[in-house]
Symmetry: C2
Subunit: 331 residues, 2 copies
Amino acid sequence: MKIIVDAMGGDNAPLEIIKGTMLAVDEFGIDEAVLLGDENVINSCVKENNITLNNTKVINCTQVIDNCDDAKVVLRGKPDSSMAVGFKLLNDGEGDAFVSAGNTGAITVGATLITKRIKGVKRPAIASVMPSTSKPFVLMDCGANAECKSEYLYQFGLLGSIYMQNIFGVANPTVALANNGTEETKGTPTVKEAYNLMKSAPYNFIGNIEGRQIPFGDADVVVADGFTGNLILKTYEGVAKALMQGIKNAFYKNTLSKLSYLGVRSGINDMKTQFDYKEYGGAVMLGVRKPVIKAHGSADARCFKNAIKQAVMFLQTDLIDKIEKELQSEE
Amino acid sequence: MKIIVDAMGGDNAPLEIIKGTMLAVDEFGIDEAVLLGDENVINSCVKENNITLNNTKVINCTQVIDNCDDAKVVLRGKPDSSMAVGFKLLNDGEGDAFVSAGNTGAITVGATLITKRIKGVKRPAIASVMPSTSKPFVLMDCGANAECKSEYLYQFGLLGSIYMQNIFGVANPTVALANNGTEETKGTPTVKEAYNLMKSAPYNFIGNIEGRQIPFGDADVVVADGFTGNLILKTYEGVAKALMQGIKNAFYKNTLSKLSYLGVRSGINDMKTQFDYKEYGGAVMLGVRKPVIKAHGSADARCFKNAIKQAVMFLQTDLIDKIEKELQSEE
């Protein structure tokens, strides 16, 4: 098992990316990690922080993609960036999976145009694993396809279902369609069409889901087009962040409130753990021929390790083969 | 000033609706409140709870609309429901505004087809006032129009801007377009078109807003189509509810955590107040010829009072006249 890592992507690169990769190497029995990025930067970061690189090689890349770069031109325009080299190595079989916390647009373009789709997949999608009050669920598409035909939405349900079954061991995952009401008659014409297709799907379609039920884990797979899914995902993260800040401010208010924190810390920590997106590492590009994992942009070492865990699970469960077979049987 | 109230709509009808109406009559100098609903139910509720009805008349309605009713047929099919009678009285000039915590679909249909739009308004929208970490903002459309043309989105920006200026006293309100990225090139073709229109709008357009910035109050007006807006609104409410439950559970965990609550209560209450949607009462139907207010379905007395306050502010600021004049000058 050989994992290709973009050491330059994300807010906390390269330190947390390197640390997370080393945690993953130790924990998941990875044969080799390939760190891509500016060799000098990586080596001095390793030295300064007394990190020992186990089963790891560094490949020097001279260019860097930042979040302002236009995704469409970036991979062609910066062929020696850690991102472009990562996709090339993955394609050439020089690694089994690619993990990056970098520019989402560039990862989407790379996965779609370089890694390419699994036969039978209409559109690959960004699938984000998210926390809820009861259990994790997957939301897809989170931004790869701003516009979706009804048959793409239908297929997202299938891909998400296979994913939750294999990676999270959920038997017969429930699939719901994000909509502005629970009634069958709700939504845009495309969403209504998707509802009709999904009614006779081979997966466990449970109907529409409204925004207010999503955080309670009412469905294992929540299906949306990439425009809507992205807004759901980020509103979800934004509200959680705003409220967590509010809680922090409440405890920081005065000496008494600071003391009070000691008495409730364990409960607050339970809640933080439950709503901790870092637990799942990020999003996966579902529907492409190799595992491509988009770690959270703000990933720390633990979060990045969990993103690599997703890649490992893809490989261990033969997820891509399973998707391919399932799609063949659909035809 | 005469306010028509649907006494039968919402989860806590009629008690909290009646109590909220009486609070509003006392506080806002309303000349007359008209309570619509089953006379026997209203009168016995009043009696049992020792409520004194000031400046209030009750009009008996024999039918009830519930949340399962199909919005499109409901007003015609149940002409003697509190909702249908409310819209009729408003249209006949028997009252200056209509406030209901009932079925959103029925209110939308009633406002659009019975109250009708202000001249120049392309599509009326549901505008929800929402809390953020910094200041309230308005999100529209929250569900009246699942599909929107770019010129509707453009006009929502204008309506929302006039609303925030007059009702919340915000000078030169900032208007942002909900999108799956901040770049001008993001979004569906319709959203991109809307962006282009909004760039040369007479209002203060500040560009795209991502979901994660919405809860921090980065814009005074957030524009979306009704499908997306509804999912943003409800995801927002759902995540806040899920986390508030988490906090409650943390404090209820054991004796020590319960005691700790005393020390942090005031800070937690500050946060609750800041994120309290009840403060604003609900949503308004923006773009119709009379004030139609949709109170939260779960409104308690205070929340319903605040929904009536919205109606009062509409009247006191001549908001509808101002919208009409602004649209004339646009042409």
